[in-house]
């Protein structure tokens, strides 16, 4: 039975992992995502569903435990925050290379380096442009509410198994730490070992005898074979773009000015759009829900309608590059965002829209990255 609760984003995500029928969670605590492992340890899901929860000795150990468990066809998740995700990147690249399904959660904090424990969206490049080495992409979901922190866990597992690929849930300190009302989904049963063999016997190492051996590896020293593997990955990513793109349009029908923002920035920007509308400015919001695949086509089409676009992110200007690539210079595109753990207010976003886009409506392509930072 579904259940209504007041929960932190991190807690809702942890509970959702249990309810999605996950087999295992391996993690290591770091602010601002520690509630994920704290909740799981308190909740003791091994008693509810048999799900394994283990605090590894490090982030690197955790991601390699994920690799091992995923190799056997199990539903497995790990989570961390920015510096911890950097440590996991080698493992994430291996997961992509070995074509393993897994869910990785990043509750982003400010960087670079140890940075700050406050919210940030400065891991956009790391999330959508590889991060680890090699030709791979992650399917990236960006929740903007506690409800989505819960809902996206099952979605992420579904995508991970549909494509046999690692999926990233890219949250941040604000969404992870805030509490909202959340409707929890019904408990899904964990797959039995027989069900796993039935579903994933073509690739998983299940221990079944009398069949061709399944070998999980990302290593291929024969160049032709390795190239074929890379092409296979690219095909998956193309299919993701065709079948699993997600985005939300808010007040875009008559918009003259557009804000593009994801996650916590989308929530703040939605309020900025409401404030703008009260002032008579026809502003709209496009919220990418998946950051890869990116809503290129919807943005390309909106660029014919609007006079300018502001990319609002809690960073020094990262997603703005994808907005620019999407609209192909049809309209001016600017960036606005605070960094260092400071969160922009709706009023600041509206002011940036007025100053950078509306006021400069006649000037095109005049700013540099430096001038786009407050």
């Amino acid at each position: 039975m579904s259940e209504l609760k007041l929960m932190k984003g991190n807690e809702a995500l942890a509970e959702a992992a249990i309810r999605a029928g996950a087999d295992a969670y391996f993690g290591y605590p770091i602010t601002p995502q520690s509630e994920v492992i704290e909740y799981l340890m308190t909740e003791q899901p091994e008693k509810r569903t048999g799900m394994v929860v283990l605090q590894a000795e490090s982030e690197i150990a955790a991601i390699n435990m994920v690799y091992g468990a995923a190799s056997t066809g199990k539903k497995v998740m790990t989570s961390s925050s920015s510096p911890g995700i950097s440590l996991k990147l080698e493992g994430i690249s291996y997961l992509a290379g070995a074509e393993l399904p897994a869910v990785i959660v990043n509750v982003v904090r400010g960087g670079p380096g140890l940075g700050t424990i406050q919210p940030s969206q400065a891991d956009y490049f790391q999330s959508v442009k590889g991060g680890g080495h090699g030709d791979y992409k992650l399917y990236v979901l960006a929740p903007a509410s506690v409800q989505e922190m819960s809902d996206f866990v099952e979605d992420a597992f579904n995508i991970a198994f549909k494509y046999r690929a690692p999926v990233l849930i890219l949250s941040d300190g604000l969404i992870g730490q805030m509490m909202e009302k959340v409707n929890l989904k019904d408990q899904l049963p964990r797959l039995t070992n027989d069900e796993i063999i039935e579903k994933y016997d073509s690739w998983a190492v299940t221990g079944r005898k009398n069949r061709r051996r399944n070998i999980i590896t990302s290593l291929d020293l024969q160049s032709e074979k390795m190239e074929a593997r890379v092409h296979r990955l690219m095909k998956k990513y193309e299919q993701m773009e065709k079948e699993d793109l997600r985005y939300e349009k808010i007040l875009c029908d008559d918009a003259e000015y557009l804000i593009v923002a994801y996650g916590s920035s989308a929530r703040i920007s939605q309020k900025a759009v409401e404030l703008a509308r009260k002032k008579g400015i026809k502003a709209g919001l496009l919220r990418p829900i998946t950051l890869f695949p990116y809503p290129k086509q919807p943005l390309f089409e909106l660029a014919d309608q609007v006079k300018g676009i502001l990319s609002v992110e809690l960073n020094a200007g990262q997603m703005v590059e994808d907005v620019k690539l999407s609209v192909e210079h049809k309209v001016p595109v600017e960036h606005f965002g605070r960094t260092g753990g400071i969160i922009h207010t709706p009023e600041e976003v509206l002011e940036a829209l007025e100053q950078k886009i509306i006021k400069n409506g006649n000037l095109r392509y005049h700013t540099t990255r430096e001038s786009s930072i407050l």
């Binding site: 007041l6 424990i117 604000l174 730490q177 805030m178 009302k181 920007s269 309020k271 207010t345």
Partner: protein, 180 residues
């Protein structure tokens, strides 16, 4: 109806839990709620604050610059948030430890001696409930019975025997709030 509230004071005063009880009360009335804490290093001994929003509609930004109500429980928070109250809005504060009282004339300012009243009730922990009572007197955005229902939800059962005491504290707060 949308009510945007900042509650700010020292860590340990029950700022976050007061916000949580308010959020739970909102849920009991089928409202949309958000609870956004400052969870920075300041939580460990310094100032703590939480933004709580209750609304009939989907809440857009959980993070705000301006508030309908500021509930201020120490001097640092007064310095930081007096100017964050919307014109015509409400500022409620405990004068205990306040040396610079609010000066704005375009907002309503109310005092409640929460620290003193809680001491008189011989339980410092109900301080935040006294303050909550004062707030609910000025802005009855949730019914008292739903606050109690919210308390039941947010407290684990072994503390349920304290609910009558909390209810009393809310009543005391309601009776004691006065204009500055």
């Amino acid at each position: 109806m949308t009510e945007e509230i900042i509650i700010a004071g020292f860590g340990g005063q029950g700022v976050l839990s007061m916000g949580k009880i308010l959020a739970y009360s909102g849920i009991m009335e089928n409202q949309e709620v958000s609870w956004m804490p400052s969870y920075g290093p300041e939580m460990r001994g310094g100032t703590a604050n939480v933004t709580v929003i209750l609304s009939d509609e989907r809440i857009s930004s959980p993070y705000l610059k301006l508030f309908d109500t500021a509930i201020i429980l120490n001097q640092q928070s007064m310095d930081k948030f007096e100017n964050s109250v919307k014109p015509g809005g409400l500022l409620i504060y405990d004068p205990n430890g306040i040396s610079h009282h609010p000066t704005r004339k375009d907002i309503q300012v109310f005092q409640i001696e929460g620290t003193k009243l809680a001491a008189e009730m011989e339980n410092k922990k109900i301080f935040n409930m006294v303050i909550l009572g004062g707030f609910l007197k000025k802005k009855p955005i949730v019914k008292l019975e739903n606050v109690i229902a919210g308390l039941k939800k947010s407290l684990s059962e072994r503390y349920h025997h304290l609910i009558p005491l909390n209810e009393k504290a809310i009543q005391v707060g309601m009776e004691s709030i006065h204009p500055y």
